[in-house]
Structures are given as structure tokens and as C-alpha cells.
Symmetry: D2
Subunit: 309 residues, 4 copies
């Protein structure tokens, strides 16, 4: 079914890296926690994993970085896999139309976050996963290690501590949802798991491999089924409409693939039925998405015509 042979991916990645070289170092690394602000802004890596588990890369594609919000996709997949559709009673699937931390809409909609990729929604997902598994962050880490085949993936304790220290806004959001009855676990415990989840370090290679189930219609690396075909499609749809903060429209317009970004500078993207991509470069644009990373994905769809549109 693949129209692009494995060998092409390697060449394609090198072309893309050359295309975006002038942009590397553009933008500003996230500064809200010291642990992220110190990253070298000239890092750039990109990886592609095909359906069979072959992985190709360029640049810093094997260097671990702070995945941050990208883990929200995996937490969502696990929460759906473990607990099913009832999750959607507690979190919506609509774009938020507001900066990613906004409390306004949450108030307007009685504590139900718009989607699982804004912080509020991700807190609900983690809360659900905690209730289902008893240890949300460890469960997530195990899953990522298994899917990527890399047992060395781990938390970054310094990042987690730094998130906690600067975590008043997330604490506000969590307590606010709790006031509407939309949080089951004690808020401090929930925040703990959430901050550990955000601190997970992975490389582009790890991410592309771990995200293959989204391109494989729900099948895990070992061939077992994580999600139904329909659920996998649905996560891709939510990534398309809500995956890149308040720039989802722009990302769909430019890249045309389901994607999820993190303030560490990483982005994961999916070509359903074909491959998963991961890219990393720390410089962010005003919406919090990697400048060189988004450009690299733009080049990918332009060069391959693999945009879903």
C-alpha cells in the first residue's frame, strides 16, 4: 500500500533538513520554567517511522528532549483504551478558540474543557487515567517504553519539580474543575501525575515509533489492538482540530496532517495508514509551536503531497 519506499524516507528527511536549515534557531525556547529555557535553540531533529517499525531520521533525531504536551496524545489513547467512551462526558472535542490556558471558556461551559489537548482537558484525562490505573504517570511511561522499544525513556525530575513550582495556573484550573465536580482524585495528587507526565523525555525516534498506533488504525507495536479503528481515527481528528494550541487552523492550513505539539519544541504528526513523524527544534512561535518543526512538516507534505487535503 505504501507509495513511498523506505529508502525514500531517508533521502526525504535530508532534503527537508536542508530546506529548513535557515529557520533553525528562529523563535524562542519556552521560558516559563528554567529547565526548558536552558536548551540549545539550534537543535533540530526529525524522524519518520513506517507501519512496520522501520525508523529513519536526521539531525538530533536520537537526542531526548522534553515532550511536554505531546504526552497528552498518549494519555488520551490510554484513557480511551482502558476506560472507553465515557471519557467524552467529561471533556469535549471542539477547538478552544482561546489561548491554551484560558479559564474563561471553562467557566462558560461549567467546568467541561473544550478538548483533551488544552491543559484543562489533559488534566481531566490524567484524572481519568489515574482512577482507571491507580498510577497514571507510571502507566504512561511503561506504554511509551513498550511502543518505542526504548526502556531508557524516563521522567526528568528537575523539569517536574520546576513545573510544580510554577504550577499555580494548572492548580487553579484543576481546583476550578473540581469545583464543578469534574475531578475525581485529590488535586495535589492529580497535579503530581500531570507534571511527571509533562516531564517525560523522548527523542524523535522514540516518539515516531511510539505513535505508530495512530497510523496503524489502533494497532500497537506488538500487533495487539490498543484502540478500535474508529477510536484511532477519532484521535487523529481531535489532533487535527485541536492539536496545536490556538494555531490548529493554521497548522491544518499549512501542514494538513493531524499533529500535536509541545512547548519543548517537539511535534508529532500522523499520515494515517502510512507513517508517523516526529520533529524537534526548541525555538517556538507566538502560539507555542516549534518554528523549524512546523516548517519541516510543511515541507514534508509539500514534497510528498501527503497532506490529507
Amino acid at each position: 500500500m505504501a507509495h513511498v519506499a523506505p529508502m525514500d524516507y531517508q533521502h526525504l528527511l535530508e532534503q527537508i533538513a536542508a530546506d529548513v536549515a535557515p529557520l533553525i534557531g528562529s523563535g524562542t525556547p519556552a521560558e516559563y520554567i528554567p529547565a526548558l529555557a536552558g536548551v540549545d535553540p539550534r537543535r533540530f531533529g526529525m524522524a519518520i517511522a513506517d507501519l512496520d517499525g522501520n525508523v529513519f531520521g536526521t539531525g538530533d533525531w536520537r537526542v531526548p528532549f522534553s515532550t511536554q504536551s505531546i504526552t497528552k496524545v498518549f494519555a488520551l489513547a490510554l484513557a480511551l483504551a482502558e476506560g472507553g467512551d465515557t471519557l467524552w462526558e467529561r471533556v469535549g472535542r471542539e477547538p478552544s478558540g482561546n489561548p491554551f490556558n484560558s479559564l474563561v471558556q471553562l467557566e462558560y461551559e461549567n467546568g467541561i474543557p473544550r478538548n483533551p489537548f488544552i491543559n484543562a482537558g489533559a488534566l481531566v484525562v490524567t484524572d481519568r487515567l489515574q482512577t482507571l490505573t491507580g498510577d497514571a504517570s507510571s502507566e504512561l511511561l511503561d506504554f511509551l517504553r513498550q511502543e518505542s522499544g526504548n526502556p531508557d525513556i524516563g521522567f526528568d525530575a528537575e523539569v517536574a519539580a520546576s513545573e510544580q513550582e510554577h504550577g499555580d495556573r494548572n492548580a487553579a484550573v484543576a481546583h476550578f474543575m473540581a469545583s464543578y465536580g469534574n475531578i475525581d482524585n485529590p488535586v495535589p495528587m492529580l497535579l503530581d501525575h500531570y507534571f511527571w507526565q509533562c516531564s517525560i523525555e523522548m527523542s524523535c525516534a522514540d516518539l515516531a515509533l511510539a505513535g505508530r498506533f495512530l497510523a496503524r488504525h489502533g494497532l500497537r507495536a506488538d500487533g495487539s489492538r490498543l484502540l478500535t479503528r474508529s477510536e484511532a481515527k477519532q484521535i487523529n481528528a481531535v489532533m487535527m482540530t485541536c492539536g496545536t494550541y490556538d494555531a490548529a487552523g493554521e497548522f491544518a492550513y499549512r501542514v494538513g496532517l493531524p499533529g500535536k505539539s509541545g512547548v519543548g519544541g517537539g511535534i508529532i504528526a500522523v499520515v494515517p495508514g502510512r507513517c508517523t513523524l516526529a520533529v524537534w527544534s526548541p525555538g517556538l512561535d507566538a502560539q507555542g509551536n516549534s518554528v523549524a518543526g512546523a516548517a519541516a512538516l510543511d515541507r514534508f507534505t509539500t514534497r510528498t503531497g501527503l497532506s490529507v487535503f
Copy 2:
């Protein structure tokens, strides 16, 4: 390139019609203007136009209905074709995250509407088209007649008058944007063109044929180029993230195709590189989208696997 032979479409449409038969009559026709409230809620039609201009249909697929907001897609295409990218300085491409008429976000963002498919954005598009052509609504009507090959497509004067009579909210939006300098033409003239545009009557067959340029990467019915490949892709992306009011996430999640709905009960959807679909049934859900229409499109992607995800 087509994996589904023309003959299949006819059979497929009949299967879909049978699938959704129990839903026909569900929901509530739009009631804000009398001309729409009087439509028979048991109407249902669906059409598919392939790349070569063959069109297939079922039910009331040749019955004209009030296209309403569906015309926003065509006005956008014309404004881009005539005036190019500078349009995007006056209107965004992000989902609105609010009911489709909301003024809150417009105020927060200094008179720049979030996207061309909320009313505010569509007013800017019509204003731009008026400046470019001198007669926005006639220009649009001509285009629709040519692309559909149906010279009988026309305005519904009763609907236009009714829209005008109940048009205070659109007048408020237009004056509000004018106060930010984002409207070039006199507000009453702009509203006039806008209401005529909303009143255009077309059938599913007309719509599916007229929208083929979106599936044909920008090529018109006569083979000439309306939009660049990139512009056509971009309109599809905006339809995906913003095309169905405050239910774009849900529509992407269920249907997985770029689409644009109208309160007349019609929806147009695009399978890029393959075909264009149009469906009509007047009963609306709480978000203003046709209940049976959305279900029919859902059945289409489920039966064909042609969701972009």
C-alpha cells in the same frame, strides 16, 4: 486514480439513504426566519459528483433548497481567486470556539474575525468580493451557475427580505467591524449583498457539481484554474477546522472530511482528489447542522473508508 467506479456511487447512495431513513425528520428546521421554518422536515437528498462531472443522487437530490451558509465557501474561493492572499490580513483561519454569532471574540481580537465561515468572517469576505467585483452577489450567482451547469439557480427574494428583516445581529457585527476599520463598503450595501448571497437556492446536484474545484485541486468545471493547488488545499483545511459552526471538532471526529453546513439543512463535503458530496435534510441539531445530513456523511466515510483520517 478513482478506486470506486462511477456505478458504485449510485449503489452507495441508496445504501446510505436506507441507513439514515430512521433519522429523517429528526431535529428542528431553522426557525429564525419564517421562510425557512416552513420547509417540510421530511425532505432528504444526497448527491455525489466525481472529478469528471458525473453526478449521482438519491431522494430529493434535484430539489432546490436554501443554501444559506454553504455559499460562504464559494464566496471565499472567489475572493481568493480575484484578490489573493491579502484577504487573510482581515480574517483569521482559526476555529472560533464560540457560538457562530458571538461578538465576544471579535471584540477581544480587535474586529478581526476568527475565520471566514462565522458570520463576521463571511461579511468580511463579501465586503472584499464587493470591492473586487463591484457586485458580490451577482458574481457569486454567475459562478455557481457556471460550475453547476444550471442556469436556473437563483436568489429567493422572500428569504433575502426575511433575512434583512431579522438582520439586526448581522448589522451589529458589520458595524462593529466597521468601527475597527475592517469593512470597506457602506454597511447597508454590504448587508444587502450578504443577505442575497445567503438566499441562493440550489439542489444537492447543483452543489456537488459546483464544489468540484475543491476536489480537483482548484480546477474549474471547464478545466481552467480557479485556485492554486495550495489555495484549494487551504480552503479544505479551513472547512475541516471551521466549517460546521461550533461542531467542527465533532464533525471531523465523526465524518473526517472537510465540510460546510448551512441552516437550510444542507452540507457540502469534499474527498480531495476524488469527489464532492452534497446532502440536504432540514432538521437541525443544537449546533445548527442537519441531523440526517451529518449522519449520511458519517455513513459515507464508514462505508467507504474515505475519511481523511
Copy 3:
């Protein structure tokens, strides 16, 4: 009952004028319409009218200026006098807590403005007065001429035209309320009366005299009753909590008197049971209130102890 003899007022005004002399010329005249932007920022006048109709003044107290929003108090009084309490079904009496033009709250509260002194509320009052009298702006002008005893008070056609030309925001507000059914007259006619109303020119002497009914518990200049004692008290209360845009709290805190300001640089204030004050100086602070004018009223209550607190 008066503790301060008439003669004292003259001396007091001269002391206050000396107190605030360093502030005259501070702030910025309103710039949204050219007719206001051209006023000499070094103007300063102040007048006090006692219960018996004696009037005292200092500086430019006999120079007419653009009263702008100050007329909202008089329009409110007339609408209550002519039509009674049912007005309060269409406009609230609560401070708005938002910049004076905001549409957000209006949307949140279904087209019912928070109070009669924000533009939205004043439009409702004018709409009501128009329905009651058939000619709202002329009725208001007549009233002001009678109460002040000055038949030369008039509209400023240039200001009214300028307001109209820059009136998109007020047009938006009026159409928006009309969409909720809260405007009875045609919007263009309403706006016309509203802009004429804003353009009325009066001096501090005129204003202090015309506002005496608020200090006289509802009695007009000729001794007839305009408002019940209770209604007069209520207008004073609304002036206290809502009279100075988004600085009502600050004004109450500093001055401690019911007051209403206009962007022409005028302010009217009331010492119930004792006197009415009017002050004018064009330089405005960030909230749209006269810098020297507010300071002069602050000096008045500090020197006399006549704050209501």
C-alpha cells in the same frame, strides 16, 4: 437648612480653582471625533447652583462646551418622569465593570444593558423617550433650556455629524440590542436622536442650574414636581455607582458624591438637599473623566466635608 451661606460658595470656588490650577491642561482631550479634539485643553470652569437658583462660578463657567454623556442623566430623568418605572425592565442599575462600550456583558445578559449611563443603556433610554414623546432630542433640549433659564442652549451640528460619521460602534450596540427585541424605534432614527443629544452645548452655569432637581428631591426650577422624592434619590444612587464609566468606584472613593461625566470634559455632581455642581476642563484621564474636573470635586468635598460618606 443650608450650613454654607451663598457667599461662601464664591470664595470656595476661588479656593478650589487655585488648588487645581497646576492640573489644568493635564490629561488628553477626547480625540475620537475631530470636533472635540480641537478644544483648548487649558479651559477650566466650575459652577455651583444652590436650591434657590443662585448660581456661583469661577473661570470659564459661562462658556458652552460639549456636554456629551452628561445629557444621559437628563434623558433618564425625562424618561422616568414621562414613562415611569417600566423603563427598568429594559435597563439595569448595576455598574458594568467593563470599559464603557463593551458588548461582552450585553451579550451575556441578553441585550439588557447594565445601567442607563453606559452607551447601550443610554440608547435604550433615548429609545424609550422617543416612543414616549415622538421627538426625544428636542424634548430634552427644551427641558434643559427651561431648567437652566437659558434659551440659547443648542445642538452643535458639527459634533452631531461627526458622532454619526464615527458612530459604527454605537450602531453595532443599537442593532445588537434590537436583535434581542430591546429597541422599539428604527435604529437609524434612534441613532440620530442619540447623536443630537450628545451634541448639546451648555456651560457649567447651565448644567448646575439644570441639574437642581436632583438636589431638590425631584422639584423642577418652577417648583413643579418632575420626579418623586424616591425617583430623584434613585437617580443619584445610579450616578454614584455608574456615573463615571469604569471609574465609579474611584470617583466614589475620592469625591464621595453622585456624579456624571462626559468626554467633553464636563462633570455634574450633586449634594442632595443642598446644591448642584458642574465643572469643566477638557483634559481626560485614561477612564475618560476630566483630570482637573475630578480634582476640583475632590477639593470641594475635602474642603467642605460634604461627601456623602
Copy 4:
């Protein structure tokens, strides 16, 4: 200076009690915490304290009740007395124009609450008092005991625990302000003091006596100065514009006195230079103010003409 002799107060209170008797039991006691929901809705008490410390009462005027938000006035007075005007850099003095717990405006204004009487503002005041004194809630309790002369005034541990248990919204507000750097103490410690402060039980007699400094232009019960004349006036002004949640305009309109209400059903009001009033009846209106209590204060100003307007 008093125009009303001490004896009159007793008679007046009895008249008022008779006036409002039909309203006692109207409205709904606060239900958000069980400890308040259990109060007998037919309670009614009212007290007046004159400048010399004579206190008069009717009904349940010596029965302690949960003062709740009324303590915000005393905390504000102490924070100003101990730390001065710099408090106003962290909290505004404008009405909020939104339900008393709203986070929207707080977000819009970067973590600076509109005034010290909404919960957000009161949390800032308590935070300031905690920094100044090291033990905000004890300091407040001591002050109330001294001013009322009642050493038995105490916290209600059950209410405090109940507030804590249902305190997610206040926790959200506090963390939210902390995210803007507007909270100095650890949020859990701050909340603790805040909930203890809300739980203080006092009678109408206690409250009227304790609040005399507001009528005495800043002088304490023992004649020493707590606040400058100007500061006392300013607190009265803030009570007038912000003291009764989202009904301050209505309260000014009906009662015309500075006042502060609590969801326990109590209200304190001030006639500057003359007396302090306290009233209690648990049934609340939709804005959270005591129905019979507000009516009693309305009767007071109607009967005495002592409204400030």
C-alpha cells in the same frame, strides 16, 4: 450632632421589624455548605449602635450567626491600618459587574481583583494581613472582640471545615492570582486563614458595635485612631459601590447606605457620622443578599430619611 435621640432607635427598630415581618422566611438560606443550610430561615434580628456605643436591638439581635463575607470589611480595615495604601496596588476599587466568584475579569485584568469585597480581592486582603501580622485570622478575631466588647466571639470550626471541603473555587482563585504573582503566602495557608475568617460567628449587636469606627470616621471603640478620616470615608465608598455582590447598584438605589452583606444572611450598614446598623435573616435573594435584611435597611432609610442620597 445626632438628630435622632437614643430612645427613638428602639422604637424605630420595632416599627421596622413589624414592617418586614411578612418577608421573614422569604428567600433561601445559602446551601453551598451544610453548616449554613441548616439554619432556621425564620430568624430575624436587627441592631443599631450609636457613636457613643449605645446599642439597640430587636428580634434575634443577640443571637450569633455566621458572618461570612461581612468580615471582609474588618479585614480590609485592619490591612489598611497596619500596612497603608500600598494594598491598593494589589486590589482595585471598582465594582466587578459579574457574579461574585467570576474568574473572567481576573484573567482580563492580570490577576488584580476589581475590589476587596469579591472573593478574589478578599483573598488578597487576607494575604496582605497575614504578611503584616503573621496570623491574619487571630488578629481579626481579636479586633472584633475588642471593638464589640464581647470576648466570646469565636470561630465556628464546623463552618471553617465545611468551607475548606467545598473550597475548590476559592483555591482556584488563589492559585490563579498566585500565577500572576499577586499572592505572597503559600496558598494552602492563605486559604486556611480565609476560611477561618469567614467562619466567625457574631450577633447583630456585636457587628453594629464592631463597625462603629466606620461611622466614627476611623476612631475605635477606645477612642484611639484605627484609620484616618479619609481612609474611613474610602471604605464606606467601596462598601457603597461593591459591598453587596452583583447587587450594589440595586442596594444603593433602594437603601442608599454603604453596606456589606454575607451569605449567612447578615448585612452591616453605615450612616456616616451617626450610627452603624446590623441586620440578620438567613433567606437570601438570587444575588446572595438577605431578603428581609435588605428590606429592613430600606425601611430604615425610608422612615428616617437618612439615605446618603
